[in-house]
């Protein structure tokens, strides 16, 4: 064995981290550069060229408003390429294999090569299929994930000026509404393929999405209820921990009862609780935290089903339905389905991060926070300022984006681990689990949280 010199497979793990680091650097850099160019550089150049011209001001503002869209459009393809590679390498680690390691140095370019290959493949229309619907299906599947991601941008960049525009007062509702559209695309694709397996896959997807949408939305609503806001930026910022015990770092996340535990600890330390109150208050705080952890679990389960990830990938069960709704797809239309699948995984993870894991907040106060990033950013900004260019980054936004991406990928890796572990559900077990277990549980939690939050 080649790696016998290095114990415990550090070789392969190291390669995996190196690969992740390089790819994430590429993603981060590309998106950052694109946003900076569109949001700051181009408007400034226009304003410099035509000072005091109201028309130029309008044009500059219009271009600035495009920043979120450009950011998302740059982000999605590169991110999907990385996620496919990370999934394959991660699964290889879990199954004691090596994964793709041929294309480019150590397989770094495997998915780039795959993407190029897919784009150049022939677009085949199935015989007897509905060509218009067949073509529209991947677009309808993909587009909502682009639009759905946009309000989250404001949440993960600490409401940066350039992304303020995409923040809605009811942001989370918008995201949820968008995330339920893709199922229409799947059913359309299944129907238009003129293939019974695809149709069964599409219909299964509809049944599954309807069943699992309810616990998912109930879990999010319960959390919104607890926090008292539907605004994703608000929700993310409320979870921002401080170094004071009443809202200490990660304990302030919604995952641990929306600040119930640090609040209790604070009261306990200050000696404001007396007698039986010490016990009852602790009990209710823990109960609320427990409810929130369950809610997060319900959300992750429902999200897994919503985006057809492995334990719930019945719409594309390879062994039963060949590949379900995308059996007949090839070329760029298949590529779009593929892209959307991974983008959806990223988006549901981002929603979970914003709702339960503190958005862009650092888990430990003072650890890689805004100040650290500001000190990194200062030399760059000074250099750019000397060249007469707008500042490249500010610490607040960078810290937010860094932690949001870090946490999101932690959840994505968890999804990969789940994929490597759990077998696929049977369709009756799936519906049984959704309707008889998750929905009652989420309703009970809604009721429980309503009362407990008054008692804490």
């Amino acid at each position: 064995m080649t790696s016998s010199a290095v114990p415990y497979n550090l070789n392969e793990i190291g390669k995996f981290f190196l690969l992740s680091g390089v790819w994430l650097g590429i993603i981060f850099g590309a998106v950052w550069a694109a946003c900076w160019a569109v949001g700051m550089l181009v408007p400034q150049l226009i304003l410099n060229a035509y000072p005091n011209d109201p028309c130029a001001l309008n044009v500059a503002n219009a271009i600035r408003l495009l920043t979120p869209l450009v950011g998302v459009m740059v982000f999605i393809p590169i991110n999907a390429m990385y996620m496919v590679l990370a999934e394959r390498r991660g699964l290889a680690l879990f199954t004691v294999r090596k994964g793709p390691n041929r294309v480019g140095p150590d397989g770094f370019l495997q998915t780039a090569a795959d993407a190029v290959k897919l784009l150049f493949k022939e677009n085949i229309n199935p015989h007897g299929g509905d060509v218009l619907m067949f073509t529209l299906a991947p677009i309808i599947f993909f587009a909502p994930s682009v639009f759905g991601a946009i309000p989250l941008l404001a949440a993960v960049t600490s409401n940066h000026d350039l992304f303020k525009i995409v923040n809605l007062p009811t942001g989370i509702f918008y995201v949820l509404a968008m995330s339920s559209i893709p199922v229409v695309g799947i059913v359309m694709g299944g129907w238009a393929s003129n293939n019974k397996y695809s149709l069964v896959g599409g219909l299964r997807s509809a049944a599954q999405a309807i069943s699992y949408e309810i616990p998912l939305v109930l879990a999010i609503i319960t959390t919104c209820f607890l926090v008292g806001s539907l605004d994703v930026v608000n929700i993310a910022q409320m979870q921002k921990g401080t170094d004071n015990l009443a809202s200490f770092g990660f304990l302030n996340w919604n995952f641990f009862g929306a600040g119930a535990i640090p609040h209790y600890l604070d009261l306990l330390m200050q000696g404001k609780l007396e007698g039986a109150q010490v016990v009852t208050s602790a009990f209710w705080s823990l109960a609320l935290a427990f409810c929130c952890i369950l809610l997060c679990g319900i959300y992750l389960t429902g999200a897994c089903a919503e985006i057809n990830r492995i334990p719930f990938d019945l719409p594309e069960a390879e062994s039963e339905l060949v590949s379900g709704y995308n059996t007949e797809y090839s070329g760029i239309r298949f590529a779009i389905f593929f892209l959307a699948e991974f983008t959806n995984l990223f988006i549901v993870s981002t929603v979970a991060v914003v709702m339960w894991f503190g958005g862009g907040a650092t888990p430990f106060p003072g650890f890689l926070d805004a100040n650290t990033f500001a000190s990194i950013a200062t030399p760059f900004n000074q250099a750019l300022a000397q060249a007469g260019l707008p500042p490249l980054m500010d610490g607040q936004t960078m810290s937010g984006a860094f932690w949001a991406i870090f946490k999101t990928y932690a959840l994505v890796y968890f999804a990969i681990l789940v994929r490597g572990t759990l077998p696929r559900f049977r369709i009756d077990q799936l519906l049984d689990f959704g309707w008889k277990k998750l929905i009652p549980l989420s309703l009970i939690l809604l009721l429980a949280v309503t009362y407990i939050r008054e008692l804490v």
């Binding site: 016998s4 793990i13 879990f94 004691v96 090596k98």
Partner: protein, 214 residues
């Protein structure tokens, strides 16, 4: 109700156990071999591509045209052409063809071969573009002296004794006299008797003694 709670806790525990088990596999070194770079270390009795060995010491061809392999082959993928040598009065190999597209690598031919001439090599990369190119002729089948030595050592086969020098066997009588004294593999005389219907006159045209249907 309590049974349900208990069951869900139990199932959550089991799922967590599964996740833990899978996660622990992360630290195990991969069992993957980088195939074209690291060739697998195959055992000597691996049944790969068939080949004809030569004597590792003298580089004589070991085949004595006994046709045992051709007869035993269940797929009938071996085709031997031989004729009776005018000089030694023994069968002499002209052409040896194996259709590897038909072969099922059962290894029966290697078992019956009295001189350990036909052997299974460790080569398994035989993919080709046409069926015709899967039919290996004598030239492609015959191993070099070094390769033969390698496989004889790896398979722990007994080293074949060298054939008697040909000039000595030229006259008919000395050849007949030398025959019992020869240290040829024992199978050879009896095979000859069996395989050769004795009705073939010495030194005919090479085609005529073609024994295709035994």
């Amino acid at each position: 109700m309590f049974a349900l709670v208990g069951r869900s806790i139990e199932s959550l525990y089991q799922v967590a156990r599964g996740l833990k088990t899978v996660f622990k596999h992360t630290v195990r070194p991969p069992i993957t071999k980088n195939f074209p770079d690291d060739m697998p270390d195959l055992p000597g009795h691996f049944r790969g591509r068939l080949a004809l060995a030569v004597n590792p010491q003298t580089s004589e061809h070991l085949c004595i045209s006994c046709l045992q392999c051709e007869r035993v082959c269940p797929d009938k993928c071996i085709q031997i052409t031989s004729h009776k040598s005018p000089e030694t009065n023994k069968p002499e190999l002209i052409e040896f063809k194996i259709d590897h597209g038909l072969c099922m690598f059962c290894g029966l031919c290697t078992e019956v071969c009295p001189t350990s001439c036909i052997i299974n090599t460790n080569d398994f990369e035989m993919a080709d573009y046409t069926r015709e190119s899967l039919v290996y002729d004598l030239k492609r089948l015959t191993l070099s002296q070094d390769e033969s030595a390698h496989y004889f050592a790896k398979k722990e086969l007994p080293m074949p004794k060298p054939k008697p020098p040909k000039p000595a066997a030229k006259p008919a009588a000395p050849a007949a006299a030398a025959k019992p004294a020869e240290d040829k593999p024992e199978a050879k005389p009896e095979v000859k008797a069996e395989a050769k219907p004795q009705d073939l006159p010495a030194a005919p045209a090479p085609e005529s003694p073609k024994k295709e249907e035994q």
